[in-house]
Symmetry: C2
Subunit: 170 residues, 2 copies
């Protein structure tokens, strides 16, 4: 079988730095993903130390599953769509509550090629990082129509950069 | 950025057939992954129709998270380790219960390069498929030490083959 599941060198390096930071600060990680659909947890699982500092993640591709698996407010999803920073924050906080981890990172966005059912544009991505002891990090990015994989890669790189900062902060 | 997250043609084809079967039989899918760590949901999300028939998944990398996020019995994990068909079945059933999906596929195994903490050998993988209306499918595979990525690819291919059968069965 032809194996092609490797990630770019930049992402592999960011994943390694994330796990190094988790180990140094005794933080354990959980992910909550929509438009990256499990690729971020897959990337993190390849880094050294993952078995000790990565608990896993939640992939919530549909709105219905964002509510059922992560407890995101159905009213929020209806009023503000699935791609907004408030949903990203609720995804991260829901993952934190439903796993043994003490830091969570969430990504929700439109990887394309089409805008989502609510008309959110391709390339719009919201990221949140949550810990129990500090207010959540809230980020909105507009990458534009640069292609599905490039949007996913940029979203993962930005999410890990924020996650490393949050893990390293005392 | 260099994009390398493509999957092999065989896996891409299996994912497409899985979503086609889900659409034809009105089944919606959830995954529960340990040693593939989100790669199966990532693969499925690339197939046409994913946004309508894939709800998402759970990545439970640690034993602790298998219990907390999916409700796998801590006693079972202690007595029979994380890599056995009974754990795969509880992961699939837990995912079914905690998502809006009506069919679930679970993978737990040792991708390597080292045996797991309980001495389970590299290449041992257990797969389960659960629906609410029929007994679960239970599979044990021993791929041997063929390399981490090859083990993950074989596990995903076998899991999707079982999932397609379970979806297509009336």
């Amino acid at each position: 079988m032809n194996c092609k599941m490797a990630f770019s060198e930049q992402l592999t390096d960011l994943a390694k730095r994330t796990l190094d930071a988790a180990k140094a600060n005794n933080r354990s990680i959980v992910t909550a993903e929509s438009c990256t659909a499990g690729k971020l947890s897959g990337l993190l699982s390849e880094a050294p130390g993952a078995s000790a500092f990565l608990h896993g993640g939640f992939v919530t591709y549909t709105k219905e599953n964002k509510s059922k698996a992560l407890g995101v407010s159905a009213e929020l999803l209806k009023n503000k769509t699935a791609v907004c920073v408030d949903v990203a924050v609720e995804m991260a906080q829901g993952a934190l509550k439903r796993s043994p981890a003490n830091v969570a990172v969430a990504i929700t966005g439109v990887a394309g090629p089409e805008p989502d059912e609510d008309g959110n544009p391709v390339g719009l991505v919201c990221i949140a990082v949550a810990r129990n002891d500090v207010p959540p990090v809230r980020i909105e990015k507009r990458y534009g129509e640069i292609g599905r994989e490039a949007i996913q890669e940029h979203a993962m790189a930005d999410a890990l950069t924020e996650l490393i900062d949050a893990i390293s902060e005392q």
